[in-house]
Protein backbone atom coordinates (compact mmCIF):
# COMPACT_ATOMS: atom_id res chain seq x y z
CA UNK A 1 0.00 0.00 0.00
CA UNK A 2 1.30 3.40 -0.97
CA UNK A 3 1.84 5.70 2.00
CA UNK A 4 1.00 9.37 1.62
CA UNK A 5 2.65 12.09 3.69
CA UNK A 6 1.73 15.75 3.78
CA UNK A 7 3.93 18.80 4.37
CA UNK A 8 3.14 19.17 8.08
CA UNK A 9 4.14 15.59 8.90
CA UNK A 10 7.25 15.87 6.77
CA UNK A 11 8.37 19.13 8.42
CA UNK A 12 7.82 17.72 11.88
CA UNK A 13 9.99 14.68 11.24
CA UNK A 14 12.73 16.49 9.28
CA UNK A 15 13.38 18.79 12.24
CA UNK A 16 14.34 15.75 14.30
CA UNK A 17 16.52 14.07 11.67
CA UNK A 18 20.19 14.22 10.79
CA UNK A 19 20.21 13.48 7.08
CA UNK A 20 23.75 14.73 6.42
CA UNK A 21 25.30 11.27 6.44
CA UNK A 22 22.88 10.01 3.74
CA UNK A 23 23.47 13.16 1.68
CA UNK A 24 27.24 12.67 1.93
CA UNK A 25 26.79 9.10 0.70
CA UNK A 26 24.70 10.48 -2.15
CA UNK A 27 27.38 12.96 -3.22
CA UNK A 28 29.99 10.17 -3.09
CA UNK A 29 27.81 7.89 -5.22
CA UNK A 30 27.32 10.76 -7.67
CA UNK A 31 31.06 11.44 -7.97
CA UNK A 32 31.69 7.73 -8.43
CA UNK A 33 29.26 7.63 -11.36
CA UNK A 34 26.87 5.37 -9.47
CA UNK A 35 23.87 7.65 -9.94
CA UNK A 36 21.58 7.58 -12.99
CA UNK A 37 20.04 11.01 -13.66
CA UNK A 38 18.28 11.50 -17.02
CA UNK A 39 17.74 15.00 -18.42
CA UNK A 40 15.27 17.17 -16.50
CA UNK A 41 11.73 17.28 -17.90
CA UNK A 42 10.20 20.72 -18.29
CA UNK A 43 6.82 22.31 -18.93
CA UNK A 44 6.61 26.05 -19.51
CA UNK A 45 3.45 28.15 -19.26
CA UNK A 46 2.83 31.68 -20.44
CA UNK A 47 -0.44 32.90 -19.03
CA UNK A 48 0.21 33.22 -16.16
CA UNK A 49 3.97 32.64 -16.44
CA UNK A 50 5.12 29.49 -14.70
CA UNK A 51 7.02 26.27 -15.09
CA UNK A 52 7.20 22.73 -13.81
CA UNK A 53 10.33 20.60 -13.65
CA UNK A 54 10.58 16.84 -13.33
CA UNK A 55 13.83 15.55 -11.87
CA UNK A 56 14.38 11.85 -11.41
CA UNK A 57 16.98 9.22 -10.96
CA UNK A 58 18.43 6.51 -8.76
CA UNK A 59 21.58 5.16 -7.21
CA UNK A 60 22.53 1.93 -8.95
CA UNK A 61 21.72 -1.25 -7.00
CA UNK A 62 19.75 0.77 -4.44
CA UNK A 63 16.24 -0.16 -3.23
CA UNK A 64 14.40 2.91 -4.57
CA UNK A 65 14.10 5.45 -7.33
CA UNK A 66 12.73 8.95 -6.89
CA UNK A 67 10.80 11.35 -9.10
CA UNK A 68 10.53 14.97 -7.97
CA UNK A 69 8.12 17.47 -9.43
CA UNK A 70 8.58 21.15 -8.64
CA UNK A 71 6.55 24.03 -10.00
CA UNK A 72 7.16 27.76 -9.88
CA UNK A 73 4.43 30.31 -10.64
CA UNK A 74 5.75 33.74 -9.79
CA UNK A 75 2.46 35.62 -9.80
CA UNK A 76 0.91 33.31 -7.17
CA UNK A 77 1.37 35.98 -4.50
CA UNK A 78 -1.54 37.81 -6.16
CA UNK A 79 -3.68 34.83 -5.10
CA UNK A 80 -2.05 34.59 -1.68
CA UNK A 81 -0.41 31.31 -2.68
CA UNK A 82 3.25 30.32 -2.42
CA UNK A 83 5.12 30.61 -5.72
CA UNK A 84 6.60 27.14 -5.53
CA UNK A 85 4.95 23.78 -5.01
CA UNK A 86 5.75 20.15 -5.55
CA UNK A 87 6.13 16.60 -4.37
CA UNK A 88 8.48 13.65 -4.20
CA UNK A 89 7.52 10.15 -5.38
CA UNK A 90 9.37 7.13 -4.02
CA UNK A 91 9.24 3.90 -6.05
CA UNK A 92 10.74 0.47 -5.53
CA UNK A 93 13.69 -0.17 -7.82
CA UNK A 94 12.92 -3.91 -7.52
CA UNK A 95 9.23 -3.91 -8.52
CA UNK A 96 8.37 -0.46 -9.89
CA UNK A 97 5.64 -0.15 -7.24
CA UNK A 98 4.83 3.33 -5.90
CA UNK A 99 6.00 3.16 -2.29
CA UNK A 100 5.27 6.66 -1.06
CA UNK A 101 3.97 10.07 -2.08
CA UNK A 102 5.57 12.92 -0.12
CA UNK A 103 3.62 16.11 -0.76
CA UNK A 104 6.35 18.32 0.68
CA UNK A 105 5.41 21.47 -1.31
CA UNK A 106 9.08 22.09 -2.06
CA UNK A 107 10.22 21.91 1.58
CA UNK A 108 12.57 18.93 1.11
CA UNK A 109 14.34 20.72 -1.73
CA UNK A 110 15.00 23.64 0.62
CA UNK A 111 16.34 21.32 3.31
CA UNK A 112 18.54 19.20 1.06
CA UNK A 113 20.01 22.43 -0.35
CA UNK A 114 20.77 23.69 3.16
CA UNK A 115 22.34 20.37 4.15
CA UNK A 116 24.64 20.55 1.13
CA UNK A 117 25.84 23.87 2.59
CA UNK A 118 26.44 22.15 5.91
CA UNK A 119 28.49 19.38 4.29
CA UNK A 120 30.56 21.87 2.33
CA UNK A 121 31.25 23.88 5.51
CA UNK A 122 32.29 20.71 7.33
CA UNK A 123 35.08 20.10 4.82
CA UNK A 124 35.91 23.68 3.82
CA UNK A 125 35.09 26.27 6.50
CA UNK A 126 37.85 27.63 8.75
CA UNK A 127 37.98 26.09 12.24
CA UNK A 128 37.44 29.47 13.89
CA UNK A 129 34.39 31.14 12.42
CA UNK A 130 34.16 34.72 13.70
CA UNK A 131 30.94 35.54 11.89
CA UNK A 132 28.53 33.96 9.41
CA UNK A 133 27.85 36.33 6.53
CA UNK A 134 24.71 35.82 4.52
CA UNK A 135 23.74 37.46 1.25
CA UNK A 136 19.98 37.22 0.88
CA UNK A 137 17.19 37.30 3.45
CA UNK A 138 15.03 34.56 1.89
CA UNK A 139 14.46 30.93 2.82
CA UNK A 140 17.99 29.77 2.02
CA UNK A 141 19.47 32.80 3.79
CA UNK A 142 17.83 31.39 6.92
CA UNK A 143 17.98 27.60 6.47
CA UNK A 144 21.64 27.58 5.43
CA UNK A 145 22.55 29.29 8.71
CA UNK A 146 20.35 26.99 10.78
CA UNK A 147 21.90 23.91 9.20
CA UNK A 148 25.41 25.18 10.04
CA UNK A 149 24.78 24.59 13.74
CA UNK A 150 26.34 21.09 13.79
CA UNK A 151 29.56 22.32 12.16
CA UNK A 152 30.26 25.65 13.90
CA UNK A 153 29.61 27.18 17.30
CA UNK A 154 29.40 30.67 15.80
CA UNK A 155 26.00 32.25 16.42
CA UNK A 156 26.79 35.71 15.03
CA UNK A 157 25.13 36.47 11.69
CA UNK A 158 25.64 39.49 9.48
CA UNK A 159 23.00 39.55 6.75
CA UNK A 160 23.26 41.68 3.63
CA UNK A 161 20.14 42.67 1.74
CA UNK A 162 18.65 45.42 -0.34
CA UNK A 163 16.89 48.34 1.31
CA UNK A 164 13.40 47.01 0.73
CA UNK A 165 14.23 43.47 1.94
CA UNK A 166 12.35 42.04 4.89
CA UNK A 167 15.06 42.45 7.53
CA UNK A 168 12.57 42.55 10.40
CA UNK A 169 11.26 39.04 9.79
CA UNK A 170 14.81 37.76 9.25
CA UNK A 171 15.96 39.16 12.59
CA UNK A 172 12.94 37.90 14.46
CA UNK A 173 13.20 34.36 13.04
CA UNK A 174 16.95 34.02 13.49
CA UNK A 175 17.00 35.51 16.99
CA UNK A 176 14.41 32.94 18.00
CA UNK A 177 16.83 30.33 16.73
CA UNK A 178 19.63 31.61 18.93
CA UNK A 179 21.53 33.99 16.69
CA UNK A 180 22.58 37.60 17.10
CA UNK A 181 21.83 39.34 13.83
CA UNK A 182 23.30 42.45 12.28
CA UNK A 183 21.74 43.68 9.04
CA UNK A 184 23.46 45.74 6.39
CA UNK A 185 23.13 46.98 2.82
CA UNK A 186 26.92 47.46 2.63
CA UNK A 187 29.02 44.50 1.42
CA UNK A 188 32.17 45.35 3.37
CA UNK A 189 30.32 45.66 6.64
CA UNK A 190 29.66 41.96 6.15
CA UNK A 191 32.96 40.80 4.66
CA UNK A 192 35.06 42.60 7.33
CA UNK A 193 33.36 40.59 10.09
CA UNK A 194 32.69 37.19 8.54
CA UNK A 195 35.01 34.42 7.35
CA UNK A 196 32.17 32.02 6.51
CA UNK A 197 29.95 33.48 3.82
CA UNK A 198 26.84 32.14 2.13
CA UNK A 199 25.47 33.77 -1.00
CA UNK A 200 21.79 33.02 -1.53
CA UNK A 201 20.48 35.65 -3.92
CA UNK A 202 19.22 35.57 -7.53
CA UNK A 203 21.81 38.22 -8.50
CA UNK A 204 23.00 38.51 -12.08
CA UNK A 205 25.91 40.82 -11.24
CA UNK A 206 28.75 40.03 -8.79
CA UNK A 207 28.03 41.16 -5.23
CA UNK A 208 31.50 40.53 -3.71
CA UNK A 209 34.96 41.50 -4.94
CA UNK A 210 38.12 39.56 -4.07
CA UNK A 211 39.80 42.40 -2.19
CA UNK A 212 36.86 42.70 0.21
CA UNK A 213 37.43 39.25 1.74
CA UNK A 214 39.25 38.40 4.97
CA UNK A 215 42.11 35.92 4.70
CA UNK A 216 40.94 32.34 5.23
CA UNK A 217 37.34 33.00 4.21
CA UNK A 218 35.13 30.23 2.90
CA UNK A 219 32.24 31.10 0.57
CA UNK A 220 29.36 28.79 -0.28
CA UNK A 221 27.72 30.19 -3.41
CA UNK A 222 24.32 28.60 -3.79
CA UNK A 223 22.19 31.33 -5.36
CA UNK A 224 23.66 31.12 -8.86
CA UNK A 225 22.09 28.04 -10.45
CA UNK A 226 21.51 29.22 -14.03
CA UNK A 227 23.88 30.30 -16.82
CA UNK A 228 22.99 33.96 -16.20
CA UNK A 229 23.23 34.27 -12.41
CA UNK A 230 26.46 35.35 -10.70
CA UNK A 231 27.15 36.41 -7.11
CA UNK A 232 30.96 36.35 -6.94
CA UNK A 233 33.44 38.33 -9.01
CA UNK A 234 35.42 35.71 -10.95
CA UNK A 235 38.65 37.16 -9.49
CA UNK A 236 37.60 35.45 -6.22
CA UNK A 237 37.67 32.03 -7.89
CA UNK A 238 41.02 32.90 -9.48
CA UNK A 239 42.47 33.73 -6.05
CA UNK A 240 40.82 30.77 -4.31
CA UNK A 241 43.08 27.99 -3.02
CA UNK A 242 40.30 25.42 -3.34
CA UNK A 243 37.18 25.36 -5.54
CA UNK A 244 34.58 22.66 -5.08
CA UNK A 245 31.46 21.95 -7.14
CA UNK A 246 28.54 19.70 -6.19
CA UNK A 247 28.46 18.59 -9.85
CA UNK A 248 31.33 19.52 -12.15
CA UNK A 249 29.16 18.68 -15.14
CA UNK A 250 26.48 21.18 -14.09
CA UNK A 251 28.96 23.84 -12.99
CA UNK A 252 30.49 23.89 -16.47
CA UNK A 253 27.30 25.47 -17.80
CA UNK A 254 25.85 27.40 -14.83
CA UNK A 255 26.82 29.26 -11.70
CA UNK A 256 30.09 30.85 -10.51
CA UNK A 257 32.45 28.23 -11.95
CA UNK A 258 30.83 28.58 -15.36
CA UNK A 259 31.36 32.36 -15.24
CA UNK A 260 34.99 32.07 -14.10
CA UNK A 261 35.78 29.46 -16.77
CA UNK A 262 34.13 31.66 -19.40
CA UNK A 263 36.27 34.61 -18.24
CA UNK A 264 39.41 32.47 -18.44
CA UNK A 265 40.05 32.98 -14.71
CA UNK A 266 40.23 29.27 -13.77
CA UNK A 267 40.73 25.92 -15.43
CA UNK A 268 38.35 22.99 -15.18
CA UNK A 269 41.13 20.78 -13.74
CA UNK A 270 41.35 22.99 -10.66
CA UNK A 271 37.75 22.23 -9.61
CA UNK A 272 37.12 19.28 -7.29
CA UNK A 273 33.77 17.55 -6.93
CA UNK A 274 32.14 17.43 -3.50
CA UNK A 275 31.82 13.63 -3.47
CA UNK A 276 35.56 13.32 -3.98
CA UNK A 277 36.29 15.82 -1.19
CA UNK A 278 34.13 13.73 1.14
CA UNK A 279 36.12 10.62 0.17
CA UNK A 280 39.46 12.45 0.47
CA UNK A 281 39.05 15.26 3.00
CA UNK A 282 42.58 16.49 2.30
CA UNK A 283 41.17 17.88 -0.96
CA UNK A 284 39.25 20.29 1.30
CA UNK A 285 40.69 22.94 3.63
CA UNK A 286 44.07 22.05 5.12
CA UNK A 287 45.05 25.41 6.69
CA UNK A 288 43.33 28.39 8.25
CA UNK A 289 44.57 30.91 5.69
CA UNK A 290 43.16 29.28 2.56
CA UNK A 291 40.49 31.06 0.54
CA UNK A 292 37.90 28.45 -0.44
CA UNK A 293 34.79 28.52 -2.62
CA UNK A 294 32.02 25.95 -3.02
CA UNK A 295 29.59 26.31 -5.90
CA UNK A 296 26.27 24.50 -5.39
CA UNK A 297 23.78 24.11 -8.23
CA UNK A 298 21.70 21.24 -6.79
CA UNK A 299 21.94 17.58 -7.82
CA UNK A 300 19.10 15.04 -8.13
CA UNK A 301 20.91 12.59 -5.84
CA UNK A 302 20.15 15.00 -2.97
CA UNK A 303 16.44 14.58 -3.71
CA UNK A 304 16.84 10.82 -3.87
CA UNK A 305 18.63 10.64 -0.52
CA UNK A 306 16.41 13.01 1.45
CA UNK A 307 13.25 11.34 0.17
CA UNK A 308 14.48 7.90 1.22
CA UNK A 309 15.62 9.21 4.61
CA UNK A 310 12.33 10.96 5.38
CA UNK A 311 10.24 8.01 4.26
CA UNK A 312 12.23 5.62 6.45
CA UNK A 313 12.09 7.97 9.43
CA UNK A 314 8.32 8.41 9.19
CA UNK A 315 7.89 4.64 8.87
CA UNK A 316 10.05 4.06 11.94
CA UNK A 317 8.25 6.77 13.90
CA UNK A 318 4.90 5.15 13.13
CA UNK A 319 6.19 1.69 14.08
CA UNK A 320 5.74 0.17 10.64
CA UNK A 321 9.40 -0.72 10.20
Amino acid sequence: MTSIFHAEQIKEIVHKLDISEQLEQGFVAYSQNNVVVPPVGELVFENPPGDAHIKYGYIKEDDYFVIKIASGFYENHKLDLPSSSGLMLLFSQKTGMLVSVLIDEGYLTNVRTAIAGQIVAKYMAPKEVNGIGVFGTGIQGRLQVEYLKPVTDCRKVVVWGQENDDFASYISEMETKGYTVETTTDVETLTRQCNLIITATPSRTPLIQAEQLLAGTHITAMGSDTPEKQELDSEILKKADIIVADSIEQCLTRGEIHKALEAGMIKEESVFELGNVILQPNLGRTSENQLTVADLTGVAVQDIQITKAVYQAIREASGKQ
Copy 2:
Protein backbone atom coordinates in the same frame (compact mmCIF):
# COMPACT_ATOMS: atom_id res chain seq x y z
CA MET B 1 -5.65 20.80 -0.39
CA THR B 2 -4.48 18.03 -2.64
CA SER B 3 -7.02 15.22 -3.01
CA ILE B 4 -5.77 11.65 -3.15
CA PHE B 5 -7.68 8.87 -4.87
CA HIS B 6 -6.86 5.19 -4.83
CA ALA B 7 -7.46 2.53 -7.48
CA GLU B 8 -10.68 1.16 -5.97
CA GLN B 9 -12.39 4.57 -5.90
CA ILE B 10 -11.16 5.34 -9.39
CA LYS B 11 -12.44 2.05 -10.82
CA GLU B 12 -15.82 2.48 -9.18
CA ILE B 13 -16.35 5.94 -10.67
CA VAL B 14 -14.94 5.12 -14.11
CA HIS B 15 -17.49 2.35 -14.59
CA LYS B 16 -20.26 4.95 -14.32
CA LEU B 17 -18.66 7.55 -16.59
CA ASP B 18 -18.83 8.27 -20.28
CA ILE B 19 -15.46 9.84 -20.99
CA SER B 20 -15.60 9.41 -24.77
CA GLU B 21 -16.67 13.01 -25.42
CA GLN B 22 -13.68 14.42 -23.50
CA LEU B 23 -11.33 12.00 -25.24
CA GLU B 24 -12.71 13.06 -28.62
CA GLN B 25 -12.06 16.69 -27.69
CA GLY B 26 -8.54 15.69 -26.69
CA PHE B 27 -7.81 14.04 -30.03
CA VAL B 28 -9.17 17.12 -31.81
CA ALA B 29 -6.96 19.43 -29.72
CA TYR B 30 -4.00 17.18 -30.50
CA SER B 31 -4.63 17.25 -34.26
CA GLN B 32 -5.03 21.02 -34.10
CA ASN B 33 -1.62 21.38 -32.46
CA ASN B 34 -3.15 22.66 -29.24
CA VAL B 35 -1.45 20.08 -27.04
CA VAL B 36 2.03 20.46 -25.57
CA VAL B 37 3.71 17.06 -25.06
CA PRO B 38 7.46 17.08 -24.29
CA PRO B 39 9.55 13.96 -24.92
CA VAL B 40 8.80 10.99 -22.64
CA GLY B 41 11.12 10.59 -19.64
CA GLU B 42 12.54 7.12 -19.08
CA LEU B 43 14.35 5.14 -16.41
CA VAL B 44 15.62 1.66 -17.21
CA PHE B 45 16.64 -0.98 -14.67
CA GLU B 46 18.55 -4.18 -15.18
CA ASN B 47 18.34 -6.28 -12.05
CA PRO B 48 15.51 -7.12 -12.08
CA PRO B 49 14.65 -5.83 -15.56
CA GLY B 50 12.11 -3.02 -15.52
CA ASP B 51 11.39 0.48 -16.65
CA ALA B 52 9.48 3.60 -15.69
CA HIS B 53 8.10 6.16 -18.11
CA ILE B 54 7.05 9.72 -17.39
CA LYS B 55 4.54 11.19 -19.84
CA TYR B 56 3.31 14.73 -19.38
CA GLY B 57 1.69 17.61 -21.11
CA TYR B 58 -1.28 19.93 -21.35
CA ILE B 59 -3.86 21.42 -23.66
CA LYS B 60 -3.06 25.07 -24.20
CA GLU B 61 -5.25 27.52 -22.25
CA ASP B 62 -6.76 24.64 -20.27
CA ASP B 63 -7.10 24.61 -16.45
CA TYR B 64 -4.76 21.67 -15.75
CA PHE B 65 -1.63 19.84 -16.69
CA VAL B 66 -1.03 16.14 -16.11
CA ILE B 67 2.02 14.02 -15.34
CA LYS B 68 1.69 10.26 -15.68
CA ILE B 69 4.17 7.77 -14.32
CA ALA B 70 3.95 4.15 -15.44
CA SER B 71 6.31 1.36 -14.51
CA GLY B 72 6.70 -2.14 -15.94
CA PHE B 73 8.62 -4.87 -14.12
CA TYR B 74 8.07 -8.10 -15.96
CA GLU B 75 9.31 -10.49 -13.30
CA ASN B 76 6.85 -9.17 -10.70
CA HIS B 77 4.66 -12.26 -11.14
CA LYS B 78 7.35 -14.15 -9.21
CA LEU B 79 6.42 -11.94 -6.25
CA ASP B 80 2.69 -12.21 -6.94
CA LEU B 81 2.60 -8.55 -7.95
CA PRO B 82 1.17 -7.02 -11.13
CA SER B 83 3.84 -6.18 -13.70
CA SER B 84 2.63 -2.64 -14.25
CA SER B 85 1.98 0.14 -11.80
CA GLY B 86 1.64 3.88 -11.81
CA LEU B 87 -0.23 7.05 -11.07
CA MET B 88 -1.57 10.27 -12.56
CA LEU B 89 -0.81 13.71 -11.11
CA LEU B 90 -3.14 16.61 -11.84
CA PHE B 91 -1.78 20.15 -11.43
CA SER B 92 -3.30 23.58 -11.93
CA GLN B 93 -2.06 25.26 -15.09
CA LYS B 94 -2.81 28.62 -13.42
CA THR B 95 -0.86 28.19 -10.16
CA GLY B 96 1.30 25.06 -10.46
CA MET B 97 -0.39 23.65 -7.35
CA LEU B 98 -0.81 19.88 -7.09
CA VAL B 99 -4.57 19.40 -7.34
CA SER B 100 -4.91 15.63 -7.18
CA VAL B 101 -2.97 12.38 -6.99
CA LEU B 102 -4.74 9.48 -8.70
CA ILE B 103 -3.02 6.24 -7.74
CA ASP B 104 -4.72 4.28 -10.49
CA GLU B 105 -2.02 1.56 -10.81
CA GLY B 106 -2.21 1.82 -14.59
CA TYR B 107 -5.98 1.33 -14.79
CA LEU B 108 -6.74 4.69 -16.42
CA THR B 109 -4.21 3.96 -19.15
CA ASN B 110 -6.09 0.73 -19.91
CA VAL B 111 -9.41 2.56 -20.01
CA ARG B 112 -8.28 5.49 -22.14
CA THR B 113 -6.77 3.00 -24.59
CA ALA B 114 -10.06 1.10 -24.79
CA ILE B 115 -12.03 4.32 -25.27
CA ALA B 116 -9.77 5.26 -28.18
CA GLY B 117 -10.89 1.95 -29.73
CA GLN B 118 -14.52 2.92 -29.13
CA ILE B 119 -14.04 6.31 -30.81
CA VAL B 120 -12.32 4.76 -33.79
CA ALA B 121 -15.13 2.22 -34.16
CA LYS B 122 -17.73 4.99 -33.99
CA TYR B 123 -16.25 6.65 -37.07
CA MET B 124 -14.88 3.63 -38.91
CA ALA B 125 -16.69 0.38 -38.11
CA PRO B 126 -19.34 -0.96 -40.51
CA LYS B 127 -22.95 -0.32 -39.47
CA GLU B 128 -23.73 -4.03 -39.37
CA VAL B 129 -21.20 -5.81 -37.22
CA ASN B 130 -21.70 -9.58 -37.54
CA GLY B 131 -18.95 -10.51 -35.10
CA ILE B 132 -16.23 -8.84 -33.03
CA GLY B 133 -12.91 -10.55 -33.60
CA VAL B 134 -10.23 -10.13 -30.99
CA PHE B 135 -6.57 -11.10 -31.20
CA GLY B 136 -5.23 -11.46 -27.68
CA THR B 137 -6.85 -12.62 -24.46
CA GLY B 138 -5.31 -10.00 -22.16
CA ILE B 139 -6.67 -6.85 -20.56
CA GLN B 140 -7.12 -4.94 -23.82
CA GLY B 141 -8.63 -7.99 -25.51
CA ARG B 142 -11.40 -7.66 -22.90
CA LEU B 143 -11.69 -3.90 -22.27
CA GLN B 144 -11.74 -3.01 -25.97
CA VAL B 145 -14.76 -5.25 -26.45
CA GLU B 146 -16.53 -3.93 -23.36
CA TYR B 147 -16.05 -0.34 -24.49
CA LEU B 148 -17.55 -1.12 -27.90
CA LYS B 149 -20.99 -1.55 -26.28
CA PRO B 150 -22.10 2.05 -26.95
CA VAL B 151 -21.23 1.84 -30.67
CA THR B 152 -22.45 -1.64 -31.69
CA ASP B 153 -25.20 -4.02 -30.63
CA CYS B 154 -23.10 -7.04 -31.58
CA ARG B 155 -22.45 -9.30 -28.59
CA LYS B 156 -20.73 -12.14 -30.47
CA VAL B 157 -17.00 -12.38 -29.88
CA VAL B 158 -14.48 -14.65 -31.56
CA VAL B 159 -11.18 -14.53 -29.72
CA TRP B 160 -7.90 -15.78 -31.20
CA GLY B 161 -5.09 -16.84 -28.93
CA GLN B 162 -2.20 -19.22 -28.62
CA GLU B 163 -2.73 -22.69 -27.24
CA ASN B 164 -1.48 -21.90 -23.76
CA ASP B 165 -3.49 -18.66 -23.45
CA ASP B 166 -6.02 -18.32 -20.65
CA PHE B 167 -9.18 -18.85 -22.70
CA ALA B 168 -11.19 -20.07 -19.70
CA SER B 169 -10.89 -16.82 -17.79
CA TYR B 170 -11.59 -14.84 -20.97
CA ILE B 171 -14.79 -16.77 -21.61
CA SER B 172 -15.98 -16.52 -18.03
CA GLU B 173 -15.35 -12.76 -17.77
CA MET B 174 -16.86 -11.89 -21.14
CA GLU B 175 -19.91 -14.12 -20.72
CA THR B 176 -20.61 -12.35 -17.44
CA LYS B 177 -20.56 -9.13 -19.42
CA GLY B 178 -23.19 -10.39 -21.85
CA TYR B 179 -21.16 -11.81 -24.72
CA THR B 180 -21.18 -15.17 -26.46
CA VAL B 181 -17.56 -16.18 -26.90
CA GLU B 182 -15.95 -18.54 -29.39
CA THR B 183 -12.25 -19.24 -28.96
CA THR B 184 -9.82 -20.27 -31.68
CA THR B 185 -6.14 -20.66 -32.48
CA ASP B 186 -6.91 -20.41 -36.21
CA VAL B 187 -6.90 -16.94 -37.79
CA GLU B 188 -9.45 -17.65 -40.51
CA THR B 189 -11.99 -19.06 -38.06
CA LEU B 190 -12.02 -15.52 -36.71
CA THR B 191 -11.72 -13.47 -39.89
CA ARG B 192 -14.50 -15.45 -41.66
CA GLN B 193 -17.01 -14.47 -38.97
CA CYS B 194 -15.97 -10.98 -37.91
CA ASN B 195 -15.98 -7.64 -39.73
CA LEU B 196 -14.86 -5.65 -36.68
CA ILE B 197 -11.43 -6.81 -35.56
CA ILE B 198 -9.22 -5.68 -32.70
CA THR B 199 -5.59 -6.74 -32.51
CA ALA B 200 -4.21 -6.55 -28.99
CA THR B 201 -1.11 -8.73 -28.92
CA PRO B 202 2.62 -8.01 -28.56
CA SER B 203 3.31 -9.87 -31.84
CA ARG B 204 6.41 -9.07 -33.88
CA THR B 205 5.23 -10.98 -36.96
CA PRO B 206 1.99 -10.30 -38.87
CA LEU B 207 -0.97 -12.33 -37.61
CA ILE B 208 -3.47 -11.50 -40.40
CA GLN B 209 -3.09 -11.52 -44.19
CA ALA B 210 -5.14 -9.31 -46.50
CA GLU B 211 -6.87 -12.18 -48.34
CA GLN B 212 -8.26 -13.54 -45.07
CA LEU B 213 -10.49 -10.52 -44.45
CA LEU B 214 -14.19 -10.13 -45.22
CA ALA B 215 -15.19 -7.19 -47.41
CA GLY B 216 -16.03 -4.12 -45.36
CA THR B 217 -13.93 -5.13 -42.35
CA HIS B 218 -12.61 -2.57 -39.92
CA ILE B 219 -9.45 -3.36 -37.94
CA THR B 220 -8.26 -1.47 -34.88
CA ALA B 221 -4.60 -2.36 -34.37
CA MET B 222 -3.59 -1.34 -30.88
CA GLY B 223 -1.02 -3.95 -29.87
CA SER B 224 1.83 -2.65 -32.01
CA ASP B 225 3.21 0.39 -30.23
CA THR B 226 6.96 0.00 -30.77
CA PRO B 227 9.16 0.06 -33.91
CA GLU B 228 9.48 -3.75 -33.75
CA LYS B 229 5.90 -4.90 -33.18
CA GLN B 230 3.58 -5.77 -36.07
CA GLU B 231 0.18 -7.51 -36.13
CA LEU B 232 -1.05 -6.84 -39.69
CA ASP B 233 0.59 -7.80 -42.96
CA SER B 234 1.38 -4.49 -44.67
CA GLU B 235 -0.62 -5.64 -47.71
CA ILE B 236 -3.73 -4.97 -45.58
CA LEU B 237 -2.80 -1.30 -45.25
CA LYS B 238 -2.06 -1.16 -48.98
CA LYS B 239 -5.55 -2.52 -49.74
CA ALA B 240 -7.27 -0.37 -47.10
CA ASP B 241 -9.62 2.38 -48.28
CA ILE B 242 -9.01 4.42 -45.14
CA ILE B 243 -6.09 4.44 -42.71
CA VAL B 244 -6.30 6.46 -39.51
CA ALA B 245 -3.62 7.07 -36.86
CA ASP B 246 -4.12 8.50 -33.38
CA SER B 247 -0.84 10.39 -33.89
CA ILE B 248 0.70 10.56 -37.36
CA GLU B 249 3.98 11.68 -35.81
CA GLN B 250 4.18 8.58 -33.61
CA CYS B 251 2.93 6.21 -36.31
CA LEU B 252 5.79 7.24 -38.59
CA THR B 253 8.23 5.49 -36.26
CA ARG B 254 6.18 2.70 -34.64
CA GLY B 255 3.29 0.35 -35.25
CA GLU B 256 1.57 -0.87 -38.43
CA ILE B 257 1.78 2.38 -40.38
CA HIS B 258 5.52 2.57 -39.73
CA LYS B 259 5.93 -0.98 -41.07
CA ALA B 260 3.80 -0.34 -44.17
CA LEU B 261 5.63 2.92 -44.93
CA GLU B 262 8.95 1.14 -44.51
CA ALA B 263 7.81 -1.56 -46.94
CA GLY B 264 6.74 1.08 -49.47
CA MET B 265 3.13 -0.17 -49.29
CA ILE B 266 1.52 3.18 -48.40
CA LYS B 267 2.34 6.87 -48.48
CA GLU B 268 2.24 9.20 -45.49
CA GLU B 269 -0.30 11.45 -47.27
CA SER B 270 -2.87 8.65 -47.28
CA VAL B 271 -2.98 8.50 -43.46
CA PHE B 272 -5.54 10.66 -41.64
CA GLU B 273 -5.26 11.64 -37.98
CA LEU B 274 -8.06 10.66 -35.62
CA GLY B 275 -8.70 14.24 -34.43
CA ASN B 276 -9.32 15.30 -38.02
CA VAL B 277 -11.69 12.38 -38.63
CA ILE B 278 -13.67 13.46 -35.55
CA LEU B 279 -13.87 17.00 -36.95
CA GLN B 280 -14.76 15.77 -40.45
CA PRO B 281 -16.50 12.41 -40.12
CA ASN B 282 -16.61 12.01 -43.91
CA LEU B 283 -12.89 11.21 -43.66
CA GLY B 284 -14.05 8.05 -41.86
CA ARG B 285 -16.15 5.22 -43.28
CA THR B 286 -18.65 6.30 -45.94
CA SER B 287 -19.77 2.89 -47.28
CA GLU B 288 -20.23 -0.63 -45.98
CA ASN B 289 -17.70 -2.21 -48.33
CA GLN B 290 -14.67 -0.18 -47.36
CA LEU B 291 -11.70 -1.87 -45.72
CA THR B 292 -10.54 0.41 -42.90
CA VAL B 293 -7.60 0.30 -40.49
CA ALA B 294 -6.93 2.37 -37.36
CA ASP B 295 -3.47 2.27 -35.82
CA LEU B 296 -3.35 3.31 -32.17
CA THR B 297 -0.06 3.92 -30.37
CA GLY B 298 -1.37 5.96 -27.41
CA VAL B 299 -1.14 9.74 -27.01
CA ALA B 300 -0.52 11.73 -23.83
CA VAL B 301 -3.62 13.85 -24.44
CA GLN B 302 -5.68 10.74 -23.61
CA ASP B 303 -4.03 10.66 -20.17
CA ILE B 304 -4.68 14.37 -19.71
CA GLN B 305 -8.36 14.06 -20.60
CA ILE B 306 -9.19 10.95 -18.60
CA THR B 307 -7.41 12.29 -15.51
CA LYS B 308 -9.36 15.54 -15.65
CA ALA B 309 -12.64 13.70 -16.23
CA VAL B 310 -12.15 11.26 -13.36
CA TYR B 311 -11.05 13.98 -10.96
CA GLN B 312 -14.09 16.10 -11.78
CA ALA B 313 -16.45 13.13 -11.51
CA ILE B 314 -15.11 12.10 -8.09
CA ARG B 315 -15.37 15.70 -6.89
CA GLU B 316 -18.97 15.91 -8.08
CA ALA B 317 -19.85 12.54 -6.56
CA SER B 318 -18.49 13.66 -3.20
CA GLY B 319 -20.38 16.96 -3.40
CA LYS B 320 -17.27 19.12 -3.42
CA GLN B 321 -18.04 20.76 -6.76
